[in-house]
């Protein structure tokens, strides 16, 4: 009995060691695989984009269809209460292809958010593209030019976190020039919204508050919620293209 147990223990410890070795090697490999995967996804989504461009968005038509958007996204400082209290994301100045991708994700359930799902479902593909075209250029004249580097340097802790995820690799220079149009600009987005969004990628099996974009789901896995909060705070504090623009009071 004793010997058996001992043998078991040895076997276990050696296998444990091997597992460790395997993990460190596989981590390196998986990092490589992961970057290839990201590049591939970017490539595919840009391909999707080319397809989607068969539908041309018209900003003027988009302006006529955005009554429901303004109700939340056009009120400065408005907070939403679902799934937790956060400021409604800024969408004026966001990348058009990303708006299309996000609305489609809400429509088909990749992103779960009951109200946005309801709205996306009542939009046709043409509506979605029109709205995206409108919001890309919305407030474009008032945007300050962004420098090459973020206007605020992250502290060492946040810098390490950002490096670990390689956020800049996709969201681009300044976190405001994504490498694929279907990725969002995130610099200057409301920090509490960014946190809610990141948390949603971490959420599984919630029928009403989860996101399942595979790249982001993979990304957020390595962070704790408090780390995600740190990242959100930093990125939210940056200068970016995103703004909330109130509806004019005059017609």
């Amino acid at each position: 009995m004793y010997i058996n147990a001992r043998a078991c223990f040895t076997r276990y410890s050696s296998s444990h060691h091997a597992l460790k070795m395997y993990k460190s090697v596989s981590k390196r490999i998986s990092n490589t695989v992961f970057s290839v995967f990201i590049a591939l996804t970017a490539y595919i989504s840009s391909g999707n984009l080319a397809q989607a461009q068969d539908i041309k968005g018209d900003a003027a038509n988009g302006k006529a269809k955005n009554a429901m958007c303004i109700g939340c996204h056009g009120i400065v400082g408005l907070q939403a209460s679902f799934p937790e209290i956060h400021k409604v994301p800024k969408i004026s100045g966001q990348s058009g292809a990303y708006i299309v991708a996000a609305l489609q994700a809400y429509k088909n359930g990749d992103r779960k958010h009951p109200t946005m799902r309801g709205i996306a479902k009542s939009l046709t593909e043409q509506d979605i593209h029109d709205l995206a075209a409108f919001y890309t250029d919305h407030g474009v004249d008032n945007r300050p030019a962004l420098g090459k580097q973020p206007n605020i340097e992250p502290n060492a802790n946040v810098e390490a976190l950002l490096k670990k995820g390689g956020c800049v690799a996709c969201h681009g220079e300044n976190y405001a020039k994504p490498i694929a149009a279907a990725y969002p600009k995130i610099a200057g987005q409301h920090a509490d919204y960014l946190y809610v969004a990141l948390k949603a990628y971490k959420t599984e099996k919630n029928p009403v508050a989860a996101r399942n974009n595979p790249v982001m789901v993979g990304m957020v896995k390595q962070y704790s919620l408090s780390e995600l909060k740190e990242i959100s705070k930093y990125i939210g504090s940056l200068n970016g293209d995103l703004v909330t623009i109130s509806q004019t009071r005059f017609k």
């Binding site: 303004i70 109700g71 309801g118 709205i119």
Partner: protein, 311 residues
């Protein structure tokens, strides 16, 4: 219908300070031209509650008149005594105040009378409220979800179980509203009440409606059905109606819920049982044609069994 333009609004010589008033009157005139009654919805120049098509809504109308009559009688009685007393005993006539004290009769009278009046009002009202809250033994259960700014309907139990859709204001009408509403001569009876997917229910069936919301508080209210129930995020509330007449009934969100609150109408289509079943089949065929066929077959079998047993 001929378009009638107010002769003065187009007149360039009208003083500027008169123009708004004239514009308003011409607007009222054109609005009058365009609007007629919408059965099941608002009527032209409607002031009173509509007499609805459910027992509850008829009770509500009755209660409304009953309370109004009681209030009017009390008002007239109290004020006539008051004015009579003031007038008859005014100072210039040299009246002296009475000096009686502790009249048991008066005290019992002024305690008992309001008490009886309150009971007379509360008794039938409570009966109706209790009836409104009795959602048991429903034939059909539907969940209505308020969201900014549309209604989601899910058929939860009963015939049509599994059907779910979103009901939003007609987009053309929304655009029309941005442009300042129906132009003169346009006849839009269901203005801001037309939806893409109405809620369809069978006639003479008890429909239990569960309300909830995704974001903020909304309220599901249809006057002709005598229903008004808040839809609160994170909670479920329920109410019910049994429409006794086929037709279209209209309502609106009745709890201020944000910018597009005025643009989330409710349209309930009450069909005969036969037409309702047809609608259910068509609706199910839309989402899962194969499943419906299987169900149809399954439905046929027990029926033939019963026939076999009967013969």
């Amino acid at each position: 219908m001929a378009t009638k333009i107010h002769p003065l609004t187009s007149d360039k010589t009208t003083p500027f300070f008169l123009k708004p008033a004239l514009a308003l009157s011409s607007f009222a005139a054109t609005a009058a031209m365009a609007a007629t009654d919408l059965p099941g919805g608002p009527a032209y120049n409607q002031l009173n509650l509509p007499i609805g098509v459910t027992k509850i809504s008829q009770d509500q109308s009755w209660l409304h008149w009953y309370m109004l009559v009681i209030c009017t009688v009390v008002f007239i009685a109290v004020f006539s005594v008051m004015f009579y007393s003031i007038w008859k005993h005014r100072k210039s006539k040299g009246h002296k105040a009475a000096t009686f004290h502790d009249s048991l009769t008066v005290e019992i009278a002024w305690t008992l009378t309001p008490f009886l009046i309150v009971i007379a009002m509360a008794w039938p009202a409570t009966k109706t409220v209790i009836a409104m809250k009795d959602t048991t033994n429903s034939d059909l259960t539907i969940k209505a979800t308020g969201m900014q700014w549309q209604w989601g309907y899910d058929y939860i139990r009963g015939e049509g179980e599994g059907i779910g859709f979103i009901s939003a204001l007609d987009k053309e009408q929304r655009l029309l509203s941005n442009q300042g509403g129906p132009k003169s001569g346009m006849s839009v009876n269901d203005y801001l009440l037309k939806v893409d997917n109405p809620l369809v229910v069978p006639v003479n069936k008890k429909v239990r409606l569960i309300t909830t919301a995704n974001d903020v508080i909304h309220a599901w209210a249809v006057q002709s059905l005598g229903v008004r129930q808040d839809a609160i995020p994170g909670f479920v509330r329920d109410t019910w109606f049994r429409a006794e007449k086929e037709g279209d009934y209209y309502g609106q969100c009745a709890e201020l819920c944000g910018k597009e609150h005025a643009y989330m109408p409710i349209h309930v289509k009450v069909l005969s049982q036969e037409n309702y079943s047809k609608w259910v089949l068509a609706e199910k065929a839309k989402s899962a044609p194969a499943a419906v066929k299987a169900e149809e077959k399954a439905e046929v079998k027990p029926a033939s069994k019963i026939e076999a047993a009967a013969s």
